[in-house]
């Protein structure tokens, strides 16, 4: 289970100008805080998915789902339950790596399925696609070597193939 209070919403929207600001504006207007947000195209060119991570109560998340559903450009909203979904995020991290520590860092990266995508005299640039909790663990382990720069994409999620039964984005029914 996710930490109580954290919810991931997968918002299927029409791929039109202004949609992202309608969605993000709704969060700020209704007083909900966005922890992470990722947006990108889907299997259809006229649809995008906005994946939003919020920290709020169950009552608030139900309210935000209903309010999102009212936006004309929102086709549907799915709350992604961790047990039922695969969640991934991409991390790029540049870490100080002199000759003495370089191999150590690379071995650690291997454990996390991170790849070295670039290297300089004093630093390594790693790329890792993993569950966000694993990325946090990797960052933690790298921190003693001094992280020069790190950037994450925000999580994306998809219902497990075994659960979806071939159905695309089974909607979650929200009961009042």
């Amino acid at each position: 289970m996710a930490t109580p209070g954290h919810h991931t919403l997968s918002v299927l929207v029409e791929n039109r100008p202004g949609v992202l600001s309608r969605v993000s504006g709704l969060f700020s207007r209704r007083g909900f805080n966005i922890e992470s947000l990722a947006v990108g195209p889907t299997e259809r060119h006229d649809r995008s998915v906005i994946t939003i991570r919020v920290d709020c109560t169950r009552h608030s998340v139900e309210q935000v789902v209903k309010q999102l559903d009212k936006l004309i450009d929102v086709i549907h909203v799915l709350e992604v339950l961790p047990d039922m979904a695969i969640e991934r995020e991409l991390l790029l991290v540049k870490v100080q790596a002199d000759a003495a520590h370089r191999l150590e860092i690379m071995r650690m990266a291997e454990v996390f399925n991170a790849r070295v995508v670039d290297a300089g005299a004093e630093s390594l640039l790693l790329e890792c696609v993993e569950h966000p909790d694993r990325l946090a663990a990797l960052e933690e382990l790298l921190s003693p070597y001094t992280i020069v720069e790190a950037v994450r994409t925000g999580r994306v999620a998809m219902t497990r193939a075994s659960i979806a039964n071939g159905e695309s984005r089974p909607p979650l029914r929200i009961v009042g």
């Binding site: 100008p17 202004g18 207007r29 009552h59 309210q63 309010q67 086709i75």
Partner: protein, 590 residues
């Protein structure tokens, strides 16, 4: 517009400019009248208004805010979509207040704005404002049209969205160059809105559970909001209430949705509602909520609102269910479906007669509270506003009258002292509380209902916010009576300052700066009257009603008169303060 005319308009095709396509699209939606002001970015549309034959009356107003409120007044009085038009930049931003008002009070409104030409968008061009961005949090939807051939589709979808489900405002922003581009016009019946369906989510499986809660209740009350008017649910509501034999309270927005004169009515709840409505809610064990949204002006302190009551909630908007108060049973859908369904379910129960008998004591208690605690005021040397309102009510009794107000004390007095027995006959700005709503909304309502008597009860503060529209009223001969309750103060704020801010009247005294409203109205070409005493009231009311021309009456009322009873801000809704006959403060409670 007749249905054949609309059908003909929908058959029309041809090569035309985008500007003409706007007018042909409005005709196809059945629009007969719209309000606006021309300007640079909307000039091609206004050129088309004059250049082509069409069936739409355009009303030239004096300020775009007036256009928006007139469209609202029209929409709320008739049930049709109201249409207002403005140019880019300042024209569009002047529509922001009416759009916000329409959003909070769920009024179907389509605002059409000109925008700078597409190649200038984003360059801070002359009179450029990102109006779709500005109104984003206060519209049901908005369109920035990007291709001229999309104009008919955008306008059709705007009307569809504004008028279906929970109604609301939709803005269509059309760059000037697109208005000047030739397109092949054809009315598009279909809407391409995968995220919006006119088949609204329905949740009817609660009907039996609701009937069960009603059967178990001993102290039920129907708590009715503006959704009943939008949903054309008044007739079904009356049938349900009479079948149940339970008290009915109607919010400020719902006034008229259930007849004030009905023996089951306990009238308005909330901050300035009746004692008996608030006591009824406070003591009830079941709130049957119909198209209402537990607004803070109704509930007072939310935790203390109807503390012992279970909640049945009817609404067309699922987002209202359990937003402020958790519902035990929700019925989502159109009231014309859900209200009769509940009535049938209640009447079908074997224990219905028993239920009515058990709830009979409750109804008698409530009706006793109503009898013993009427809205009241004290006569004095100075003219009382309540007397004026009652005089109008008596003078127009039995006639088709539409009552409009501004926002403040006069609005609350009118809500308390007018008895209104039908929907769409009480138009007031509730959610946004827009001072200045009255003058233009009344004009729009009158233009939609030419045969009705339309009275705008306004305050002197409100009146001065939009009174330039008297010129519009005179130009188009719109015979609204504007009854200004002139106390020389921003009265409601003054009341709060007197009661809660140590009588520090910070910036609320308008004395000395109020123009002579009689001279002013005369200058605009209105019939201008004044009354300063009770003795003068009946004569000016009669003269105004008989005149059937734009009229302003300056009623010089007692500036110390306050609105009672009152739930102080943050208090529980049954903790009302009132003025006793001996002038001492008393606390009233259940």
């Amino acid at each position: 517009m007749s249905s054949t005319t609309i059908e003909q308009a929908r058959q029309r095709t041809g090569r035309m400019l985008g500007s003409e396509a706007i007018i042909r699209s409005l005709e196809a939606e059945g629009v007969e009248i719209c309000w606006g002001i021309p300007g640079g970015a909307i000039l091609p549309l206004y050129d088309a208004f004059m250049a082509i034959d069409h069936s739409i009356e355009h009303v030239l107003v004096r300020h775009e805010q007036g256009a928006g409120h007139m469209a609202q007044g029209y929409a709320r009085a008739t049930g049709n979509v109201g249409v207002c038009i403005a140019t880019s930049g300042p024209g569009a931003t002047n529509l922001v207040t009416p759009i916000a008002d329409a959003f909070l009070d769920s009024t179907p409104l389509v605002a059409i704005t000109g925008q700078v030409p597409t190649h200038l968008i984003g360059t801070d061009a002359f009179q450029e404002a990102d109006i779709t961005g500005i109104v984003m949090p206060i519209v049901k939807h908005s369109f920035l049209v990007q291709r001229a051939e999309d104009i008919p589709k955008a306008i059709h979808e705007a009307f569809h969205i504004a008028s279906t489900g929970r109604p609301g405002p939709v803005l269509v922003d059309i760059p000037k160059d697109l208005q000047l581009t030739e397109i092949d016009f054809a009315y598009v019946e279909a809407v391409d809105l995968p995220g919006y369906s006119a088949e609204f989510p329905r949740q009817l499986d609660g009907v039996d559970a609701a009937a069960e809660l009603i059967a178990q209740a001993r102290k039920p009350v129907l708590y009715v909001g503006g959704g009943v008017i939008n949903g054309e649910g008044s007739d079904d509501l009356i049938l349900l209430a009479e079948a149940l034999q339970v008290p009915v309270t109607t919010t400020l927005l719902a006034k008229g949705a259930f007849p004030d004169s009905h023996p089951l009515s306990v009238q308005m709840p909330g901050m300035h509602g009746s004692k008996y409505a608030n006591w009824t809610i406070h003591r009830s064990d079941l709130l049957i909520t119909v198209g209402a949204r537990f607004d803070d002006r109704v509930t007072g302190k939310l935790d203390a609102f109807a503390p012992g009551a279970k909640i049945i909630h009817f609404d067309i908007d699922p987002a209202e269910i359990s937003k402020n108060r958790t519902a035990d049973v929700a019925l989502i859908g159109e009231l014309r479906t859900t209200l009769p369904a509940l009535r049938d379910a209640v009447l079908a129960r074997a224990d219905n007669a028993e239920r009515q008998e058990q709830q009979g004591d409750w109804l008698r208690d409530v009706q006793g509270w109503r009898r013993d605690n009427p809205f009241r005021y004290k006569k004095g040397e100075k003219l009382k506003p309540q007397y004026v309102i009652e005089a109008f009510g008596k003078a127009l009794k039995g006639k088709d009258a539409i009552w409009v107000t501004g926002v403040g004390q006069h609005q609350m007095w009118a809500a308390q002292f007018l008895s209104i027995d039908g929907p769409r006959r009480w138009l007031t700005s509730g959610g946004l509380g827009t001072m200045g709503f009255g003058v233009p909304a009344a004009i729009g309502a009158q233009q939609g209902c030419p045969d009705a008597y339309v009275v705008n009860f306004d305050g002197d503060g409100c009146f001065q916010m939009t009174l330039q529209e008297l010129a519009t009223a005179v130009c188009y001969d719109v015979p609204v009576i504007h009854a200004v309750m002139n106390n020389g103060w921003l009265g409601m704020v003054r009341q709060w300052q007197e009661l809660f801010h140590g009588e520090r009247y910070s910036e609320t005294n308008l004395f000395g700066t109020i123009p002579d409203f009689v001279k002013l109205a005369d200058a605009y070409g209105c019939l201008a009257l004044r009354a300063e005493t009770e003795a003068e009231v009946d004569a000016v009311v009669a003269e105004a009603i008989a005149a059937r021309r734009p009229t302003v009456i300056d009623f010089r009322i007692d500036h110390e008169e306050k609105v009672y009873p009152m739930v102080p801000s943050g208090a529980a809704s049954h903790e009302m303060i009132d003025q006793a006959w001996d002038n001492d403060w008393i606390e009233e409670g259940v």
